[in-house]
Symmetry: C2
Subunit: 392 residues, 2 copies
């Protein structure tokens, strides 16, 4: 029989007892932030569970990681602590376990209606990296910029291409994004224009939240890479295409990206995603040994972008994709990132890059059309441009 | 008469009473780090000066910013606090002021021989950005990659080109750098090679240390930009050219740079550099209004790179340049960085990019030759590749 919580969870909820994503929240606007997990329409306050002495397994006993204003300390403890926390919480929340179910006082203190809380950034992000790991996205971009003959350059098939992004401007879903101003050159050369971006775009991504890091100069072997991944957030890598096109030669995107990047407040753990693991696409050419995995896996996670114009009641689906479309796996991204000795730290964020699917590739003219439509829709919401990032 | 310290300072010292750069140090390997300023062959322990109640002006009275393990809090206080600290310290250290000079106990506690201290990173660096602001460097790179006809693209003359760098791998001068491993493709296409970089290079830069930041969505006006700059460090942006060349299309440098970037332990304040201010080069075309300054200034700071092979006593000068060669000024870089609403935070680092001078441009073949020689020299020191970053 499937594990079930004593808390009622609607069948279409993203937050059954099998998920239990981690986040950081304030019960009241004036409360200090503290870690929580989502269960149905509630947030379970982990600081209260810790104060009640219920994290008493060998990996977590005595730690103050749930009394912190962010998850970085918990993330630094590694998979044994994560597994223990997950097991403890699944047991506490299950319908057959009386400890929390039958303790009215503790329930009152620890279960907060999700509608009342304010979610904040779950981690302090030291560095943010953005990969370019979807072959469909890379091909689409390549056709636009290089034409249909050789849309993808050789290096892309040999390594997960990536660039450093801006960490300071990463915000939690729901935070308003201010329309960026900047330079653009519609013809590709002067005269330049200056003003609010006319080509604001979104990028549907997910991002790895790094657990334990590595020492500078000591690469992480691909065999160990999964143990450095705590979980995944949704990410919207807002992009001002006009600013980006003009500034990017020769060093890559800068102000076209750094005015705000939105992540979901909930981090879905790799452990919760395990039942959705699936084979990653076959890689040809065969990657170098430092990128070769015995079992190369992706995760089958449906992704959807909706836009809700100001004043309208309903949101409109404008894009559907799936995390399983990544060419380079999350573990390959992480191993590659450190192969030169670069050090990761707990809380670092590794974006996948836009996750496009094969449908876009097959109907490319339609994709372009839909792009234009998206830009129009964005114009409607520019002064309060939120994208609905429902946590998965 | 020039201001003089009661502490003897050699005439060729980088640390006269007119400089007083800020850093963070440990008097003993086991001591907690604390802020200090350099004076002659000594470090003045600012935590001791604060505990003695000697920072008693209106901007600093009662603050614990010098009891922190880094300078971020001091930097966040802004120019009034920086000017007050500098004035207080210049007075305390002057030959005519008895407070410290005649207090043997306080001298004993607060003045530590520089040879005995361990310098650590002076700030927690939230984000690191690297600009590309020397026209000579840009032209040299352009000739290599694009040929002598149009070495510099149009966008470079319209905006200070930059990219996000890796913050986690910034290290303080003296820290060993491990030779990075990675992919390269000497012919520009497969087959690829994997192994330790064969083209390790240095880049002579300086970097702005940001003081007060700005809120996301609120650009810093160029008229206010100088008030957000605390000071400058020396920077060596170590680069693995073979890794960089293969990975950089289309998103810019990544692992070719993120294995270690060295900064000097001492931050020279903008106030100390004021006597060295000089006119910046005339910019043609005229920059857009958001980059236009009434007075456009650079600083006349001689820069020198020396290499000291393992086992040799002496270092060899391999490059000489000057900060005054920047085309885009420090204030233009900062204003541009935030024009899209990107938020800076105290302690952020903005590298200038390699500061090449006109000599390299005029004798380009010589420059190439000297480059090769440098690479050879680096091979000698690869297992312990330190570059002497004498603070200026």
């Amino acid at each position: 029989m499937a594990l079930k919580s004593f808390i009622e969870v609607h069948s279409d909820s993203h937050f059954p007892i099998q998920n239990l994503p981690f986040g950081v929240f304030k019960p009241l606007p004036t409360s200090p932030p503290r870690p929580g997990v989502a269960i149905g329409d509630y947030v379970l306050d982990l600081s209260q569970i810790a104060l009640a002495g219920l994290f008493n397994g060998p990996a977590l006993n005595g730690t103050d990681c749930f009394l912190q204003p962010n998850l970085n300390k918990f993330l630094s403890l590694g998979r044994p602590a994560w597994k223990e926390a997950r097991a403890t919480l699944q047991k506490l929340l299950s319908s057959t376990e009386p400890t929390l179910r039958d303790n009215a006082d503790l329930r009152e203190k620890s279960l907060v209606p999700m509608s009342k809380v304010e979610m904040v950034l779950p981690v302090v992000i030291g560095d943010y990296t953005d990969f370019f790991s979807s072959i469909y996205h890379t091909k689409n971009c390549g056709i636009i910029f290089r034409g249909p003959q050789t849309p993808i350059r050789d290096n892309w098939f040999q390594l997960p291409v990536a660039y450093h992004g801006r960490a300071s401007s990463i915000i939690v879903s729901g935070t308003d994004v201010v329309r960026p101003r900047g330079q653009s050159a519609p013809t590709g050369s002067p005269p330049v224009q200056f003003g609010p971006s006319k080509k604001l775009d979104f990028e549907l991504e997910m991002a790895v939240v790094v657990g334990p890091g590595n020492e500078l100069g000591k690469p992480i072997d691909i065999k160990e890479a999964a143990d450095h991944i705590f979980g995944l957030v949704l990410m919207n890598d807002w992009s001002a295409r006009d600013i980006q096109a003009w500034e990017s030669f020769p060093l890559g995107p800068f102000l076209g990206k750094s005015f705000g990047s939105t992540i979901s407040p909930w981090i879905v753990t790799l452990d919760a995603l395990e039942p959705f693991a699936c084979d990653a696409p076959k890689q040809d050419p065969k990657p170098l040994p430092y990128l070769t995995e015995k079992i190369s896996k992706n995760y089958d996670v449906s992704l959807e972008v909706r836009i809700k114009p100001v004043g309208e009641q309903d949101s409109h689906v404008v894009s559907r994709s799936n995390l399983k479309h990544l060419y380079w796996t999350l573990t390959q991204q992480l191993a590659h990132h450190t192969v030169n000795g670069c050090n990761l730290r707990p809380g670092d964020l590794l974006g996948t890059g836009t996750i496009s699917g094969p449908v876009w590739l097959q109907s490319f003219p339609t994709f372009l059309g839909s792009c234009l439509k998206l830009i129009l829709l964005y114009h409607v919401v520019l002064n309060r441009n939120r994208i609905l990032l429902d946590a998965c």
